[in-house]
Amino acid sequence: MDLAEAPARAPRTAAAYKSSYKPIWCPGCGDFSVLSAITKALAKLDLTPENVAVVSGIGCSSRIPAYTSCYGFHGVHGRALAAATGLKVARPDLTVLVTGGDGDGYSIGGNHFLHACRRNVDLTYVVMDNHVYGMTKGQPSPTTEPDWDSKLSPGGTGVRAFHPLVIALASGANFVARAFSGDPNGTAEVIAQAIVHPGFSFVEVLSPCVTFRPEQRDWKDAVHPAPVEATDDPARAARRIMTDDGFNLGVLYKGNRAPYKGYPAPARAGVADLEKEFEL
């Protein structure tokens, strides 16, 4: 679908995808804008809210489902992709979005991240990366800089940061993009493309934690749009992602790998037919 040709008058506005329940995020948190971007993307695609499910784990960012007017599933820490995989395979008719943080997705849920990428189920995974565990009061996450000082890791962890986009690409994600919460319209555009793109779409959104990483307010001066269009060549995409400055925004890779094949097929037999193999 060409997004430029999306209907000029969307029958549903972004507001139609927001619930009346108000976020508990710190004022200034980037996640507000990601919520707004998600609702704008849904409006842009004019999806029926009850046919969309938003699945998350635990973390500040994982609170998003209840803030939407879609069906929501707020599960346990790190397991959002697993729950979403089950939901999407069981209900391929639904549009399934997965939302969460860098701790939720790359640390406790790291294994599911790899396998969701390689399984290539048609999901859209939006990670609000603030390089910190916000909800537990500011501990380093897998994307935190090695020298970032914190109570739990005085002087820094000394451990190099994880590169989610490269990992996603290497693991087989079919769509890899970077967005910035300070640009909710651009983020909405990217998320809408991610939803439309078949297979597993990964959108890493730089989303400042103003409470534990107030210096991330400077991200708005660092970000810039990607100078070139998305490629479908994973090798090129890998080189670009590995060598960019981490603030290169846009769709960086759009693959054409066949999506997951294990969705239920129409029944060929009834339960009674299954008995035959046991009969003597």
Binding site: Y71, G72, G86, V89, F278, L280
Partner: protein, 580 residues
């Protein structure tokens, strides 16, 4: 343990034959064909597999028991051990107990049987299995052994032929191996030691040949399960391997998850989507799943977790049976987390109990753990076709645009309609965080109390009917047991009854919630109980004591795996306890 009356046990218990050999000898195939032949001839039977730790080529044994009546478990002794070679077969000495009347049949070329088998006083017979097979071009030694074992048991030659023809493909292979079977039958003439089976009774109803793992998988599908996610683990894997193609045929799906954390969360997600869902695992996997099961409790999402128990803790003894996961299944969840725990009582009952678990999970919107075990799961039996159960497994869902919909509404039954994504006007967010009736996260004292009460009430107040336990016999002394331990216990009680010793038997099928009122009724007039289970720390006894008023006189019989509980050992224990 002295064998008081081997002849009597034998007469009551059919024929028990063990086939053993190293990898490549084909004893498992021979065992399976022997069971198939017995079934074809109109008998019931059971085959238990046991093997060394090697992936390929290790020593293996097929332990069979065949009788004219239904057979759920193994006997105390084997009438015959037929070994194609002795390479490491002595390892099975504990699993293949022999008696003085038994016969040990060994490959002639291998020399004497190991001392450990001869110590029983069993007679040794040497048979040239390999030479015989060599003399019939294209035939295999295990087929000679099949003919030999079949003849010992008294199975008709035609039944052995039919069983072999059912698996062999090429015409010349069939001809050669039928000849090999005949040679085995001829070699067995006059060997004796085994009382041949009496003629089978008439076949009154259809029979199945099925393993407990297949039975649990089939029961789940009968119950409505259409989505499975799982991570392979012995001894649950065969259940999954059976379900994968079965689900594909009937419009369902199975996902191989990356680990058990994923599998449990995947089924929670799928069930949230309205599709009845299940996973199967063993102890290590169940331990990883407990957080996710707690999520199913809190979010009120129906799921079924089949735990095919094996020796624990940790990796333990993967391919051996033990009832050591009762404690984690009943008590292992964090927080106050009411849920269901069920245990099938036989291979055939794996069908009904798993189906019931699905129905209860769906009805009560709660997780159900089914405690199967390696013995039930990996053994194969001839059983009467399990009846179709008319169970109401309907999940209660709201109408489209239901007015003032609240997902977690406090209802008298504790069950509240669960909207399925796609249903208009009832959008909500399922949550593992404590929540209000509307599903909004809440740490409020009233909400917490209300939701805890609601979740406890729906489990406690449900009418579980008669199925909660099998209560059999009368007497002031009662044996209480569950799961596969009940198989040997039931046979022990039957043997005692045949001797005029009356003991009541209570086999629990619904472990949690414990039906304390029904149990009290079942214990009416009972002045002492013996609790029988297969684990090291008497988990079931402790569980019962923590919740039920058992008579003051109570005793526990608990023994860990890997050896199965034997009916004779239990009959003796029960008799001694009763006379104490």
């Amino acid at each position: 343990m002295p064998n008081a009356s081997p002849q009597k046990t034998h007469a009551a218990g059919g024929v028990s034959i063990a086939l053993a050999g190293s990898g490549g000898s084909g004893v498992m195939t021979a065992g399976t064909l022997l069971l198939t032949a017995a079934a074809g001839a109109g008998y019931y039977g059971l085959m238990v597999r046991t093997s060394g730790p090697q992936i390929r080529g290790g020593e293996a044994a097929a332990l069979l028991r065949i009788a004219p009546h239904p057979i759920d478990g193994l006997d105390d002794r084997f009438d015959a051990l037929v070994a194609l070679d002795w390479g490491n077969v002595q390892r099975f000495a504990d699993e293949i107990p022999l008696a003085a009347h038994s016969v040990v049949v060994g490959e002639e070329a291998e020399g004497e049987a190991p001392e450990i088998y001869r110590a029983s006083g069993a007679r040794y017979v040497a048979v040239p299995f390999k030479k015989t097979a060599k003399s019939i071009a294209g035939s295999w030694a295990n087929m000679v052994a099949l003919g030999f074992a079949g003849a010992l048991a008294g199975l008709p030659r035609e039944a052995l032929h039919e069983a072999a023809k059912g698996t062999l493909k090429k015409a010349e292979t069939v001809a050669a191996n039928l000849a090999a079977i005949d040679a085995g039958v001829a070699a067995a003439q006059g060997v004796g030691g085994v009382t041949p089976l009496p003629p089978p009774g008439p076949r009154s109803r259809a029979r199945w040949l099925i393993s407990g793992n297949e039975a649990a998988g089939f029961g789940a599908i009968r119950g409505g399960v259409r989505f499975v996610a799982a991570y392979p683990i012995t001894p649950a894997t065969e259940m999954l391997e059976w379900m994968a193609p079965a689900l594909a045929k009937i419009g369902g799906a199975l996902v191989q998850a990356e680990d058990e954390l994923a599998s449990v969360n995947m089924i929670v997600g799928a069930s949230y989507g309205g599709v009845p869902s299940l996973t199967a695992t063993a102890g290590p996997g169940l331990a990883l799943m407990t957080e996710g099961i707690g999520l199913a409790v809190a979010s009120e999402t129906p799921i079924v977790v089949v735990d095919v128990m094996r020796g624990g803790p940790s990796t333990g003894i993967p391919a051996k049976s033990e009832q050591g996961d009762l404690a984690i299944a009943t008590q292992g969840l964090h927080g106050d987390a009411p849920h269901l725990v069920l245990a099938p009582t036989s291979i055939a009952d794996c069908v009904a109990t798993t189906q019931w678990a699905v129905a209860l999970a769906e009805k009560l919107q709660a997780p159900a753990i089914v405690l199967s075990d390696q013995f039930l799961g990996q053994s194969r039996a001839v059983v009467d076709r399990p009846d179709e159960l008319a169970l109401d497994a309907k999940r209660i869902v709201p109408e489209p645009n239901a007015p003032d919909y609240k997902r977690y509404r406090d209802t008298p039954s504790g069950v509240s309609p669960m909207a399925v994504p796609g249903n208009p006007g009832t959008v909500y967010t399922a949550d593992g965080l404590e929540h209000s009736e509307g599903g909004i996260p809440s740490g409020n004292v009233r909400d917490h109390q209300l939701q805890l009460d609601k979740r406890a009430r729906k489990i406690a107040q449900h009418d579980y009917g008669e199925r909660w336990a099998d209560v059999e016999g009368e007497g002031e002394a009662a044996v209480i047991t569950f799961g596969s331990a009940s198989i040997a216990a039931r046979e022990a009680v039957a043997r005692l009854a045949a001797q005029g010793v009356r003991v009541k038997l209570i086999v629990l099928r619904l472990i949690a919630p414990l039906r304390t009122a029904e149990l009290a009724r079942a214990l009416d007039g009972v002045s002492r109980v013996l609790v029988v289970e297969q684990n090291h720390s008497a988990q079931f006894h402790r569980y019962l004591r923590s919740l039920a008023d058992l008579p003051a006189r109570q005793q526990s019989f608990h023994r860990p795996g890997p050896l199965p509980l034997r009916p004779g050992e239990l009959a003796e224990t029960i008799a001694a306890w009763r006379n104490a």
